[in-house]
């Protein structure tokens, strides 16, 4: 009988801790990134060289949140690879050479290091290469960050949408929503947890007020409503997410209790 009481007590204790964990920390600790699927479509029986090519590819990407499948398709024409996130087609590739840096890249590694170091989030500013527009958005972001008590736990990283080195990463970001590719405007992505990118603020939507709402979303208590409908798209990345540093946001909130439950 006493054991039951102990279990109930411990259960309630765990529940109360979960409900006060901040969104960014809870997602990093508990939410596994969704898997991508890379499908190799072909209309002929697989040659030994292709089997070996796919085995090598599978080995190369095995540490990322992706799996490789082969599928026979009569209308496939020339064989090709298709990258899916759930049912959403992100990109097609004709050769494995086009998939260099598919699962990792210098900037993604840098962002992952920031997230693992206990930062609240990384704000990735995807610039349009139109100087006037990019500058306007940048000023809004910097204005919001300079006035935020959480500025020290947020990293702002700019990246051009035409970056050749990060073309795979840019492609994934522009697939977070279906219409982003057709919008030649600056975009601000909040990246948190295990590389989850929130739907971005776009163009005139990049305002101090909205940037502060983004910060408030990540510093809020993780309610069941958020857990059940977690927004954003998981970015393809090679990394192990075990043992991240303690969330820095908790130190700020403990020192300033007035900031709690914004």
């Amino acid at each position: 009988m006493k054991l039951i009481f102990l279990k109930i007590f411990l259960g309630l204790g765990a529940l109360s801790i979960m409900c006060t964990t901040k969104v960014s920390e809870w997602v990093l600790l508990n939410s596994l990134p969704a898997e991508y699927t890379l499908v190799y479509y072909h209309n002929l029986p697989l040659a030994e060289s292709v089997r070996k090519q796919n085995t090598d590819l599978s080995e190369r990407i095995k540490t990322a949140n992706i799996q490789l499948r082969e599928a026979g398709k009569k209308e496939a024409g020339d064989p090709y690879y298709a990258l899916y996130y759930g049912k959403r087609l992100f990109k097609t590739f004709r050769t494995t050479a086009e998939m260099t840096d598919l699962t990792t890249s210098p900037l993604r590694r840098k962002i992952a290091l920031e997230l693992m170091s206990g930062k609240l989030c990384v704000m990735l500013y995807l610039t349009s290469d139109n100087k006037a527009k990019d500058e306007k958005g940048r000023k809004e972001i910097e204005s919001a960050l300079s006035g935020s008590p959480f500025r020290d736990v947020i990293t702002l990283i700019p990246m051009s949408r035409n970056s050749m080195d990060e073309s795979q990463f840019v492609n994934m970001l522009l697939n977070v929503e279906s219409d982003l590719k057709s919008i030649p405007e600056p975009m601000l992505f909040g990246i948190f947890g295990r590389f989850k990118a929130l739907e971005p603020l776009v163009a005139n939507g990049i305002t101090s007020e909205n940037v502060n709402l983004l910060i408030n979303f990540l510093t809020a208590d993780c309610s069941c409503l958020i857990k059940d409908n977690l927004p954003g798209t998981d970015i393809l990345f090679t990394n192990k997410w075990e043992n991240p540093a303690p969330a820095m946001v908790n130190g700020i909130l403990d020192a300033n209790p007035g900031l709690q439950h914004l």
Partner: protein, 74 residues
């Protein structure tokens, strides 16, 4: 030149992300149900029933005692 288009305004043409509007409108927070006072007659009913029970007991006891005394006097 599409790249130079300035007409795009995510605030007016394109809806803001749902996570942002939910945060702005405080829809991410579980709100406790507001308790509203309802009309409560239970105290009056309780007094009435107690009164009836006391009245019945006194009546029954009176009849019982009267009958007993009547039998003794005979």
């Amino acid at each position: 030149m599409e790249q130079d288009a300035t007409g795009y305004d995510s605030l007016t043409i394109r809806p803001l992300p749902k996570w942002l509007t939910d945060q702005r409108d405080s829809l991410n927070i579980v709100r406790p149900v507001k308790l509203q006072m309802k009309e409560d007659n239970s105290l009056g009913v309780s007094f009435f029933i107690t009164g009836v029970i006391i009245f019945l007991i006194i009546t029954i006891l009176t009849i019982y005692i009267l009958k007993k005394n009547k039998n003794k006097s005979l």
